[in-house]
Point group: C2
Chain length 114, copies 2
Amino acid sequence: MRTLKHPERADMRLDTVLAALADPIRRHIACRLNENHHDHACVTFELPVSKSTATYHFRTLREAGVIRQEYQGTSIMNSLRKEDLDARFPGLLDAVFAAQRIEGGTAVNTPAAG
Amino acid sequence: MRTLKHPERADMRLDTVLAALADPIRRHIACRLNENHHDHACVTFELPVSKSTATYHFRTLREAGVIRQEYQGTSIMNSLRKEDLDARFPGLLDAVFAAQRIEGGTAVNTPAAG
DNA sequence: CTCGTACTTCGATATTTACCGTACTACCAA
DNA sequence: TTGGTAGTACGGTAAATATCGAAGTACGAG
């Protein structure tokens, strides 16, 4: 079974988390995982970038500690590390999601939506 | 009198604000302005970068809407746009500052401190 | 008017980031 | 075992970012 490396709670860095959430595509992924509480395969996000670029963004989020990625067969199930983030940086994630809602929804034009 | 351009509340973008706060030097500036409530000239920050780089970071913060910069003679008085930010993205600034305190203080080694 | 201070602007550079396509791996199902 | 699906790794590129030093501007003090 393939496993992916995730930072411990204590190893999450504010720099990295903020940089991860500063990108609209990555914020879009995080917001969606926050809204739809069950896990999602990468492929279901329909991002406006190529597959390899999507991998890059998911990896950036995972390495920052924002999401958890676990193989399930050939897919990866993504979930938001909300409890860990809330423990490490209380209120940060909620403030970002609230801000995103205020600013106007999706943060990104998915190819399906455009 | 020289004046500098600041975005209106409504024009503040989450992308830009998060990117501004993702950099440790800029977050250090913002944190200091939050702690010491009166204004500060750029020169008082003793950042570990050259003067022109400092200008660049202050400008980035100003253009994101995080700080206000107003000339006072040959100096610039910097202040945090806390009310505006709180109105636009409630809780975001406080969450970032709290996270910074949790992670361990200064976010940056000033040359004086190192 | 001259000088020093505080900051900006410009041009250059190094590094990082976002992005792509191709080739690859791992797994499941037939 | 053959094929399809989901995602990774790699090599490359374009753009953005962070950095510097040198030269310039604006202002107050003397």
